[in-house]
Symmetry: C2
Subunit: 290 residues, 2 copies
């Protein structure tokens, strides 16, 4: 797990690619393994037990690649599963998207007394109260507007462009009540949402600071690797890092949309069957003392 090991980015589907994209911009020499659990998405309506089981299997599957760091690039999975899998895989370095986003939200709120911080996220992320806790820990005097937006992930995974009337109606329904309540900061609390960041910024107005949890997450990973001296060094520092994708459902839609998310052409993904993942999860459970 030295400097030449890959960084793992995992997500329920395409959303985490916004994190992978930001990572490739800040750390162009690093190799990235991307895992999209497309056979079981969306995670955002599922329970803690279900999502934790999924994430556990994915980490177990990717462990043989000796990742130097694993980013859970999905807010729902961070909210529901990160604490548990960090405990179970104590030898691996694992981080998520919520802490960096919450930190950035508090910074953006500045010195204002009782700033109004809005969180747009999946139902499961909102229900977990993970953003609430991460923000209140840093800044007790804030008003939080928590807004579950269960349809945004399906709309984005459907590849709808910004100027689609359906996208505008959905965003308007989710955002208008937040703007009306005097929101100062809006956290895009799902790594899918940055794909509509420009439109969202126009809809909420320039007065509202929009926090992109994908960008903040990538910055956080860079800082971690720098701190622990795990960035690529030596001759390899001149190489462009590779990017390899794994998916659980081998649909042509991944390739089409992934390039749009990444802003670069990708190699076809490797298909991993869910049966194989469950088999790993089962073997792993069997190897633990009861």
């Amino acid at each position: 797990m030295g400097g030449d090991s890959p960084i793992v980015v995992l997500d329920s589907g395409l959303g985490g690619l916004t994190v992978a994209r930001a990572l490739r911009q800040t750390l162009p020499h690093e190799d990235i393994l991307y895992f999209g659990d497309t056979a079981r998405l969306p995670y955002g309506l599922k329970t803690r037990e279900t999502v934790t089981g999924f994430v556990r299997q994915i980490i177990e599957y990717l462990r043989p690649f000796h990742p130097k760091h694993i980013v859970i690039a999905c807010n729902t999975a961070t909210a529901l599963a990160m604490q548990t899998v960090k405990g179970e895989f104590a030898d691996l370095s694992i981080s998520g998207v919520i802490e960096p986003g919450a930190r950035a939200a508090v910074e953006a709120a500045g010195a204002k007394n009782y700033p109004v911080i809005g969180i747009l996220a999946t139902e499961a992320t909102i229900r977990s109260q993970a953003y609430e806790r991460a923000i209140i820990r840093r800044r007790g005097r804030a008003r939080l507007l928590l807004r579950p937006a269960p349809l945004l992930v399906p709309i984005i995974e459907d590849g709808r462009p910004e100027d689609d009337p359906l996208v505008r109606v959905a965003l308007k329904q989710y955002l208008e009540p937040m703007v009306r309540r005097g929101m100062d900061v809006l956290v895009l609390g799902c790594t899918h949402y940055p794909i509509y960041k420009d439109l969202i910024q126009r809809m909420v107005g320039t007065r509202v600071k929009v926090i992109d949890s994908a960008d903040r997450c990538a910055e956080d990973v860079e800082k971690r690797l720098r701190t622990y001296g795990l960035l690529r060094a030596g001759a390899d520092v001149e190489k462009t890092g590779t990017m390899r994708c794994f998916v659980t459902d081998d649909s042509p839609r991944f390739m089409t949309l992934a390039s749009r998310f990444m802003g670069e052409e990708l190699d076809p993904p490797t298909w991993v069957s869910v049966e194989e993942l469950y088999e790993l999860g089962r073997r792993m459970a069997g190897s633990q003392p009861l």
Copy 2:
């Protein structure tokens, strides 16, 4: 598997409840076991292999209840998995939703030369060409309009009412091009869609005959059971049948929405973990000759 055995209705989530509801109206004395694979929904964007694996596990799980009949009450699962699982479980009686819907569409088209038959369905159902084949086999001289509607299932599983502007925008986008092309018959090729049947009928106009695949599927099951003498008889014929639900993700949303779909209060569902399903699938594969 006599007259007192239950009828199994299986689906990716809530959609199959429209079939269960129609069955309870036509066959009020029958016991129903409903299985909603809510941890892995939606099926509509997934591949044949993935969906067949899911359906195989669910049937294996429900087999100990000795069902007298199994309805695959999901168009995607019928299109992608039915042929395979009918072969694998040759001792069980299994039917789907596509044949009854296609038959009704052809009947509704009447004597018209080259009637225009529209199919609104998930992406996977459309890609499978199952409706196309089932209709063309009965009526070669027809024009088919095939319209994938990938966002309708997420919108319905979100519990959006008919008068929601988002529902109207989505349906308008999907239906308008079909109406413009002179559609005579519209098949609601997904068991979720009948929840918006009245609105859809208003949008396409009275000239278009709307076929509810859930209703037609329930009629088909009744006919099968009657033909094979498997309807409840004797003293039990006076009893009201029971309905028991199984789900793979134990979210409170199932209970809330299920009552709306069924038009009656339901008992809380039994939770079945996906790990248990994979374990069954694995054991089953192991017991077959290689």
